[in-house]
Assembly symmetry: C2
Homo-oligomer: 194 residues x 2
Amino acid sequence: MFETLFQKFEEKIQLSDAEKELIKSFFQPKKLRKRQYLLQEGDVSKYVAFVEKGMLRSYTINEKGNEHIIQFAFEGWWINDMYSFITGEPSTYNIDALEDCELLLLSQQAEEKLFERVPKMERFFRMLLQNHMIATQRRLVSSLSRTAEEKYNELVESCPTIPQRVPQHMMASFLGITPETLSRIRGKKATTKG
Amino acid sequence: MFETLFQKFEEKIQLSDAEKELIKSFFQPKKLRKRQYLLQEGDVSKYVAFVEKGMLRSYTINEKGNEHIIQFAFEGWWINDMYSFITGEPSTYNIDALEDCELLLLSQQAEEKLFERVPKMERFFRMLLQNHMIATQRRLVSSLSRTAEEKYNELVESCPTIPQRVPQHMMASFLGITPETLSRIRGKKATTKG
């Protein structure tokens, strides 16, 4: 259950076996079936979830009922609503499972204690946030400056399995384009390849 | 020179006078006149800059020569190209001063040493990144789901002095809308108020 988690930790920090055992004790394993929610709008985001297996998405629904996908989280990624997690305010996001999932949950209290007991974990989370920040900033720059086709190409380059794992209308929502535009782009690529 | 910096630190962590003196030694003061660059595209982002006075922006220029503003940084904010800062790769961003600036620069080596000598600074930077992450994610959600007028209203709410300090075409670039659209929105608001 903890294989991917420790693989990710050890890309950035070194951990002894004793530290690993201690770290495990702060996480709660949780399974979600496809379509189940980790977080629903109006609830407080009490955990940051690490994805051992499966895939989730976070999204908002605006006044007109349109879904806007904020993030996909695959194996080895983290997901929560950070604002709600930090402030304890109700979330404006939904997070649900797009595939059957095995998650490891860390509550805010557990996170605080973890940083006290294993201070280098604070370093890990700082570095993780840096990477997450870079990715979000890039996506923002893309959304301001790229054409729909360039945005689609960037997404597939950064995550080549995404067209197989994510329904087309969700990719369109993530990219902020219409499903019709995405369909046209994919059709054009298929023709070019063929 | 360090007033605003320590005010920001002390919103999140407690520091002794000895720690403050030590922290000061890691920062390099730097003045920039309006229109001078902190970072130019192709150079490595060697510092994270804290704004004691003045205001800067980071932006990219795409193949067609269009500017896209990523961030404004006012007094009390931090700015750099995080990707370039971490990896040592040349930056794709420009950062320039929109007003005369007084900055405090922290190099990556100085940052590493600072975290070693004053470990709670690592906590401060983790919390800072969390807040920056929340703000960037909100802006991304806005860019996907809001109308031009809603985006403008959000910007002015989060930073009421921005219409006085930032030229209109830069606000439009930040919002990803045309200057004409922004002009129409502001005209409408002026009429409504009057």
